[in-house]
């Protein structure tokens, strides 16, 4: 027998090749990540301006009104780019005065479902101007809307999620716990659009209106499994000796849970809550079916509301480059939110995991 097998070089070559290709595969995952972050940051930063954080939707071409009063393209109607969602409001301009850039009264119904046909004046800006204009207005309405919708969703998901997590961890031996765990898996595995469909059937159709609260409900469905999972995992990390010590002092289960076990697991639970907020804030599909979107700054919970992911989606589909830039801007804000949350969570859990073990 040879001391060095005949095919040794071949085997060594395969070894190097395959080990190299695993490095390559990892690169294939990191490259799009870096590319996406880089694009969102550079193109998104271009959209950031004073107006971006302080203004709501401004119809394209509104500001150029005065300059292009002699433009002759009556056929073009500057439809609200939210056209796909069921209503177009064509603002009535009287040509002499530029329309106010802020929410104009005709736009109040934008996003709700009326089609208001108003005669179109000849003083529209020319099409080419519309298509070359920079971004106008901002996404303040989206930021406010996202915070409200996701925040409210979190409020709904928190009690259910945390108590279900407590149940799964503290009463883990019960048979019902298996059923609960399975249902949590079903919730976390089902596509986000399903949450939207269910709330659409359950809330939007009976009440005959799209509303922020319906959006919060659909997000809550998506947040519950995340909060439950983290709560359960974090409570399980609390050593049993702590429970036993509390029990040894005579504390009943509920007392030891609230005063000993939960506080010990709190940092971990908070990270889970933050992650679920980030997840909810980034969800788009259920919101399309439940809150619809809006062009104005609205805090009414029973009305349609704007939200950042919805704006990102609508502005991406918009034909106006100015609005496409806003899409990158909205994506930038979303990305910042998600990255901040994730990095904070990372820092928090690293310290805790290091201390715990």
């Amino acid at each position: 027998m040879n001391s060095v097998p005949k095919n040794y070089r071949w085997r060594k070559f395969v070894d190097q090749l395959m080990r190299g290709s695993t490095v390559l595969a990892t690169g294939c995952a990191v490259i799009p990540l870096v590319a996406i972050i880089a694009y969102v940051f550079t193109l998104g930063a271009a959209a950031l301006s004073g107006d971006f954080f302080t203004q709501a939707y401004v119809p394209p071409g509104t500001v150029e009104m005065a300059d292009t009063a002699d433009a002759t393209e009556p056929a073009f109607d500057p439809e609200d780019p939210f056209a796909g969602i069921g209503l177009d409001t064509v603002s009535e301009y009287d040509g002499s005065q530029p329309a106010a850039p802020a929410a104009n009264p005709d736009d109040l119904f934008a996003g709700i479902g009326f089609t208001e046909t108003v005669n179109v004046d000849t003083s529209m800006p020319s099409e080419s101007d519309l298509y070359s204009a920079g971004p106008q207005g901002g996404v303040l309405h989206g930021i406010i809307g996202t915070l409200i919708i996701a925040g409210l969703g979190l409020l709904m998901a928190l009690p259910i999620g945390i108590f279900t997590g407590i149940y799964l961890s503290e009463y883990r031996m019960q048979r019902f716990a298996t059923t609960v765990r399975f249902c949590v898996d079903v919730l976390s595995g089902s596509p986000s659009i399903i949450a939207g469909v269910v709330i659409y059937v359950l809330v939007v159709i009976p009440t005959q209106r799209f509303s922020a609260i319906a959006g919060s409900m659909s997000l809550a469905i998506l947040m519950i499994p995340i909060v439950t999972r983290t709560t359960e995992e974090m409570l399980k990390l609390v050593p049993d000796s702590m429970r036993e010590a509390a029990r040894g002092l005579g504390a009943p289960t509920w007392y030891s849970t609230f005063t000993v076990v939960l506080p010990a697991a709190l940092p971990g639970i908070v990270t889970g809550v933050m992650l679920s907020f980030a997840r909810g804030a980034g969800e788009t599909a259920p919101l399309i079916l439940t809150v619809l979107g809006s062009n104005i700054i609205s805090t009414a919970l029973l009305e349609p509301m704007a939200s950042l992911p919805l704006l990102t989606y609508r502005y991406t589909e918009s034909p106006y480059p100015g609005e496409n830039t806003l899409a990158w801007g909205a994506a930038f804000v979303l990305m910042m939110l998600v990255l901040t949350m994730n990095i904070l969570v990372r820092i928090a859990t690293r310290n805790r995991a290091g201390a715990g073990r």
Partner: protein, 328 residues
């Protein structure tokens, strides 16, 4: 008899504190039960709301070729979501085919080859991919990836081999279609598969590796012949979870697939998926039958992802159990 000192309330047996356990337990059970109830309500709501279309068309809602919600003088509305079902299956298939080898490579690299410190950092980066909202993938896909892919791959390929292989036939118009959607979805499901693969590979007992190395195998042979097969069930489970995510992915599909009801053999041609069909049409459905047909499509999606998730959990649980036994 000396009066016993009054100890703090909880040890004295019958205070409110001591009885707190009953309502506490009741409360947690009720709230945990509400999650179970929620799942049942979701299923029942969708079954009920889809009844009209299911009784009218039966399985044709999913397999019928024609989706025509608007009633005309010539034809009644027909609801056959096969174009959407086909688009869903094909784009998810592309996603899984692209993502699986890459994710396997990443999982192997992170679990077996990479220095631990680097592994932690890389794992974080890969998992960050999962945290990015899908609408951002959509924006990036629409403005960056599609034009790039169009010029670099779709157009040259459809003009050269496209004449012989109908899958790759042109014309490539906007570039939106099944293939780009599948590739973007692959990026999105990569972290799911990769991190689960890494986790199951780490569970493989060291004796497997040591035995293989002891008989003179190279690192790669050890991994490929002793470690990966041991974790095979778990890896299949991870791929199934990824498939489930790809099937249900809504935003990237809606923005990138082109939303066309026409069935075309070419992967470059626009198509539609079940999720994007629902997202696009449910809020402006023209009749209750239309609405009900869309909910049937959603129900089918829910059912498929449910089965996939359940199967995947079973497989991963099985690996977990077996390895827990092996480590003892």
């Amino acid at each position: 008899m000396a009066k016993q000192p009054q100890v703090d309330s909880w040890s004295s047996g019958n205070t409110l504190l001591q009885h707190g356990d009953v309502p506490f337990r009741f409360g947690t059970v009720v709230l945990a039960g509400s999650v179970v109830a929620l799942v049942f309500v979701m299923a029942i709501i969708m079954v009920m709301a889809s009844a009209e279309a299911r009784t009218a068309f039966g399985f044709d809602v999913l397999t019928g070729q024609e989706w025509n919600p608007v009633e005309t003088e010539l034809a009644p509305p027909t609801f056959g979501a096969w174009p959407a079902v086909r688009g869903t299956l094909l784009s998810a298939l592309v996603a899984v085919l692209v993502a699986t080898p890459l994710a396997l490579g990443i999982g192997i690299f992170l679990a077996e080859l990479c220095p631990p410190r680097l592994s932690v950092a890389l794992s974080f980066l890969v998992e960050l991919l999962a945290a990015i909202p899908s609408v951002i993938y959509g924006v990036w896909g629409v403005f960056v990836f599609v034009p790039l892919f169009n010029d670099a791959f779709s157009k040259p390929v459809s003009q050269t081999v496209g004449d012989y292989i109908p899958w790759l036939a042109g014309p490539v118009a906007t570039g939106r279609g099944i293939l780009v959607t599948g590739i973007i979805m692959a990026i999105m499901i990569l972290p799911t598969i990769a991190s689960l693969t890494r986790d199951v590979l780490r569970l493989v007992p060291n004796t497997q590796r040591e035995a293989m190395l002891a008989v003179g195998a190279t690192r790669w042979e050890t991994i490929w012949l002793a470690v990966v097969p041991y974790a095979r069930a778990g890896i299949i489970g991870a791929v199934m979870l990824g498939l489930g995510r790809a099937l249900g992915e809504t935003m990237a599909a809606t923005m990138l697939i082109g939303n066309s009801q026409r069935i075309s053999e070419s992967l470059f041609a626009p198509a539609t998926t079940a999720a994007s069909l629902v997202a696009n049409e449910l809020t402006n459905s023209v009749s209750s039958l239309h609405e009900s047909a869309l909910i049937t499509v959603a129900l089918a999606l829910f059912g498929i992802t449910l089965i996939l998730n359940f199967g995947a959990r079973l497989l991963i649980w099985y690996v977990d159990r077996r390895m827990a036994g092996g480590r003892s």
